[in-house]
Amino acid sequence: MILMAAQRIALGCLLLVAASILIFAGTQILPGDVAQSILGRSATPESLASLREELGLNKPAVQRYLDWLLAFLSGDLGTALSNGKDIGESVAGRLGNTLFLAGWAAALSVPLAIFLGLLSVRYQDRTPDRMISGLSLASISLPEFFIGYLLIYFLAVKLQWFPSVATLNADMPLGEKLRTIALPVMVLTMVVLAHMMRMTRAAILNVMQSAYIETAELKGLTPFNVIRKHAFPNAIAPIVNVVMINLAYLVVGVVVVEVIFVYPGMGQYMVDHVSKRDVPVVQACGTIFAAVYIGLNLVADLVSIISNPRLRHPK
């Protein structure tokens, strides 16, 4: 088991290096280069050449990649070209905000999705199951910007319960912070809920076909305990898998929601700098996103290895 886990972790690291190479290559094949975009119209061949020299753009690509990778690993994310600020500092605050938002959305949506999944298995093909499926499908079908504006209209404008703009300050008390991010958390929950709920339902229903479920029923367990004690533990691996994919989405895919609620997160930061063609920032953000994505999926793999009794307790 430990060997398998170690293999997964090694594979994850390898994947991360591959992803960073791809990101680096991607930024290289963009038309034009940083020097051009900094100088803009005032570019003359001479000034371009001297700026390239200064930024080290004349070195071979492999050399530049290795330099960047080593710096990245030692915590130096470089300097933003557009405003000359240290990328590490800017990212730290932004990433904190993103994780704060994603964390609360996950804390709300994961238990809710699993509970609703259990509930719809218990009442399979009956009214509660149909209602849960219907509502969650509706929420996943509506685009997130639409849900966002809908919530702003009703909860912020009409009822005035929550602010429509989620501007976060570091010195707010926690309660105030939560009230501020309430609306984006709701939107994100509605977006990821359906997928997790339906996969939980499918995974448990699959297990419900097993003979040991019949054994449990014939022991006189209540239907809900049959699901909770005997079906759910054997469905953990696929459920964790889909939960991790959705958590990754909460971190890396929330650009639209951040824009709607003017939330100072990573997504907005990256999009801003893409439009400014600020390559070092884009590179840093892309690598961080890749790390989050690979890391969460690695956790899912490890959980499914650990949750398999045959691997945990070999003969």
Partner: protein, 543 residues
């Protein structure tokens, strides 16, 4: 209280089938079954597959698999369980009635330790405290002769063997001190040498605890060892009910008589001829060069005769067939056909060599293309080996269908429209179509009910007389071996432990393994189980 524990009156069970593309239709599974069981008595429910045995057994827990509907009255401990509330029903399940299934391996939750599963119902119904229940479980493990009764409960299901798991499941059923246990084919999936231990353990446990039981099986010899009375079911109806002695010694109904005499096909052994059709020389084979499954196997088969290869699962029987057919080239040794060495690998053999060696499989339904008619399936080898087509091919297929006692009316049917026995017959016809010198039969009757299997064996013997074909007959069922073979090879852990003409192999003195194997085959006679168990105890005590 009363002297009746269970009384089933006029039980009727219906189900709904939903064939794809058709309207759902209602079918009747069980009709008009009535039975009474006194406390502490054991009733055997016997019948072929589809007779409704399990369905009747589960009805005592008011459980219908796949939404089956029960009607009629089921009185247990003085109340009709058909009318109790869901809460009362849950209280009955696991407290008054418990269940032991055919496949313990599938019936245990893979991610929970055995002990927690064994005592789950006992604790749920507040029959004992957790520590009392654990103590009782350990006692039961010991009584059921499980190894390390103190610690086996801390293992997970995949960490114990199939036979042990079946005994743990029996302990699980006994733990809450129920009034009735339903045993649903608890030994069918086990090897014959394992079956006898489990059977003896179950019988002892029933005797000591005084629990009543419904014992479901298709094997009359097994049920005769554990029951007080027997109920014979067929197509969901009651055929006959009586004491064990009456059923096996003086059956009244024709169907019961047929069941009792199922395994009596007389077959005179033939003497070996000079030139064997197939000769195996020092075959040693392994999978991926690592796991050695066959070691120095030497045997021969003579024209028109049958070599039975017997052994438990994992003894290398089927691997031997794979070597002969060329699916698994051996590491060492040769396969000689008519004194000519066969190329070890299938791909190197000529069409003629392929034709002369045919194969029939255990699972007839997966050995046929479900989208082809009987005519296409049987006609294929005619076309491939002899180039026979059109009207001539059809005429030959009809001839073959006559030979397997099925007839022309089946020629345009699909496999799904045939019964299990008919499917196996079509497979036989397909192999015969190639006019082979030898047919390998791999457990061809194991998946069939006793009476149907009997018909297949008789057919195979008749065909052998007519066509002079030789059989390599792989089986774990020793009764079948006696019925069909001329010579026998007993395999154990990839080696031949005993080999020779039938009478010689089946005549004492035996080697230890053959003795164990032969004495483990259930015999249809009262007291057989006790006799064997007694003998073994005496032997191990050194008498």
């Amino acid at each position: 209280m009363s002297d009746t524990l269970l009384e089933v009156r006029n039980l009727r069970i219906d189900g709904t089938v939903r064939p794809p593309g058709e309207k759902p239709k209602d079918i009747n599974i069980v009709e008009g079954v009535s039975l009474t069981l006194a406390p502490g008595r054991v009733m055997g429910l016997i019948g072929e597959s589809g007779a409704g045995k399990s369905t009747v057994g589960l009805s005592t827990l008011r459980y219908g698999r796949g939404g089956l509907r029960l009607s009629g009255e089921i009185w247990l401990n003085g109340r009709n369980i058909q009318t109790i509330s869901p809460g009362q029903l849950r209280d009955l399940r696991g407290r008054e009635v418990t269940y032991v299934s055919q496949s313990a391996a599938a019936s245990f939750n893979p991610s929970i330790r055995l002990m927690d599963q064994v005592i789950e119902a006992t604790i749920l119904h507040k029959i004992m405290s957790k520590s009392e229940a654990q103590k009782r479980a350990v006692e039961l493990f010991g009584a059921l002769s499980l190894p390390e009764p103190e610690s086996i409960g801390s293992r997970y299901p995949h960490q114990v063997s199939g036979g042990q798991l079946q005994r743990v499941m029996t302990a699980m059923a006994l733990c809450p001190k129920p009034d009735l246990i339903v045993f649903d084919e608890p030994t069918t999936a086990l090897d014959v040498t394992t079956q006898i231990d489990v059977l003896a353990a179950i019988k002892t446990a029933i005797k000591h605890t005084g629990v009543a039981a419904l014992y479901i099986t298709h094997d009359l010899a097994v049920v005769a060892q554990v029951s007080d009375e027997i109920l014979v079911l067929r197509h969901g109806n009651m055929v006959e009910h009586g004491t064990v002695q009456q059923i096996i010694e003086a059956p009244k109904e024709g169907y019961t008589r047929a069941l009792v005499s199922a395994h009596s096909i007389p077959h005179e052994e033939q003497a070996a001829t000079d030139s064997p059709v197939l000769r195996l020389e020092d075959i040693t084979a392994s999978y991926e060069g690592r796991i050695q499954v066959l070691t120095d196997v030497t045997a021969e088969i003579h024209p028109g005769q049958t070599l039975a290869v017997v052994g438990e699962s994992g003894s290398g029987k089927s691997t031997l067939a794979r070597v002969v057919t060329g699916l698994l080239p051996p590491d060492k040794g040769r396969v000689l056909f008519d004194d000519q060495p066969l190329p070890p690998a299938l791909a190197d053999r000529s069409l003629e060599q392929l034709r002369e060696l045919q194969m029939i499989y255990q699972m007839a339904d997966v050995a046929m293309n479900p989208r082809q008619t009987v005519a296409t399936i049987i006609g294929r080898p005619l076309e491939m080996y002899f180039g026979i087509r059109g009207a001539e091919k059809r005429r030959r297929v009809i001839e073959l269908l006559d030979q397997i006692e099925m007839g022309e009316s089946f020629i345009d049917r699909y496999p799904a429209e045939l019964s299990g026995g008919q499917k196996q017959r079509v497979c036989i016809a397909r192999s015969l179509a190639a006019k082979p010198r030898m047919i390998i039969c791999d457990e061809v009757t194991s998946a069939l009910d006793p009476l149907v299997a009997n018909g297949i064996l008789k057919l195979l013997l008749n065909l052998q007389t007519e066509e002079g074909v030789a059989y390599m007959f792989i089986t774990h069922d020793l009764a079948t071996v006696e019925a069909i073979s001329d010579s026998i090879a007993v395999m154990y852990q990839g080696r031949l432990v005993r080999y020779g003409p039938k009478t010689e192999v089946l005549t004492p003195p035996f080697d230890d393994y053959t003795d164990l194997l032969l004495s483990s085959v259930p015999e249809l006679r009262l007291g057989w189980l006790e006799g064997v168990v007694q003998n073994r105890k005496m032997e191990s005590a050194g008498f």
